[in-house]
Symmetry: C2
Amino acid sequence: MPNLSTASSTADAAPVDLETSAGESDHEALRLWLRLLTCTNLIEGDIRSRLRQDFAVTLPRFDLMSQLDRHPEGLKMGELSRRMMVTGGNVTGITDQLQQEGLVTREALPTDRRAYLIRLTPAGREAFSHMARAHEAWIEQLFSGLVESDRRALFRLLGRLKTSLTTP
Amino acid sequence: MPNLSTASSTADAAPVDLETSAGESDHEALRLWLRLLTCTNLIEGDIRSRLRQDFAVTLPRFDLMSQLDRHPEGLKMGELSRRMMVTGGNVTGITDQLQQEGLVTREALPTDRRAYLIRLTPAGREAFSHMARAHEAWIEQLFSGLVESDRRALFRLLGRLKTSLTTP
């Protein structure tokens, strides 16, 4: 079973069980939200430190490359920003850096001179696929503490939650 | 039912269903993680824009005040940083600003002259309780699309996930 306490990279960053900060008197929906957020934070924090340790990359940079990898046709800057799954990254800054490293190209669009299409280069795709394989193995490990039937039930329930959040 | 599409504050920030960026060939644990992250992002994004619209405060500022509210004895800066549930906030900057507005105090510790204890002032506590009431109502609304039994089952499963993530 993964233990995020030992996976933490800095000694004084011992994870606090954030959900317990909800007092006994807090209501059910709030406790559910804090638990959801805590689980997400635990996993995201673990992935963040592993990416830093093993690949010396930030989570926003990984996230950005991941979105480009899923869209080989390229993405405009605005689309890229909107698709980012983690906050706190500077999309323009990361893109500039990736371009300098030869991992993305930026191509002017004939239809709109102010817009650019960002794409991974073959080198960018190769660098990403390396990280993506490791990332998937970490995720599998992180969820391995749940039995298969619990993982399926969780997937179903989160699907209902997502639908209820996005359906008018 | 809450509809996060219409709750979005800017027209061109139409939410993308981030989870669908996982292709069919992605594995089960990865799809579960992306669904978990998508649900968290949808709720967090909604709360972020409501706090901005209704109270003109950022989510990190709300989060920071929330941690202080749960710790009337005060928190040292390091503890405060560690307890933050959202990333991207500048804890020192937010604390400075709250102090200027008379919402927190910063008190030197007799035991450690380099450490300060941060506490909400009565005005800070009052300002926070206003926002906290609205925040809880939003959260209740956001989860209201799930039936009671689904909310309970989700709470239980996330509890198992949390335990497996934090237990050696």
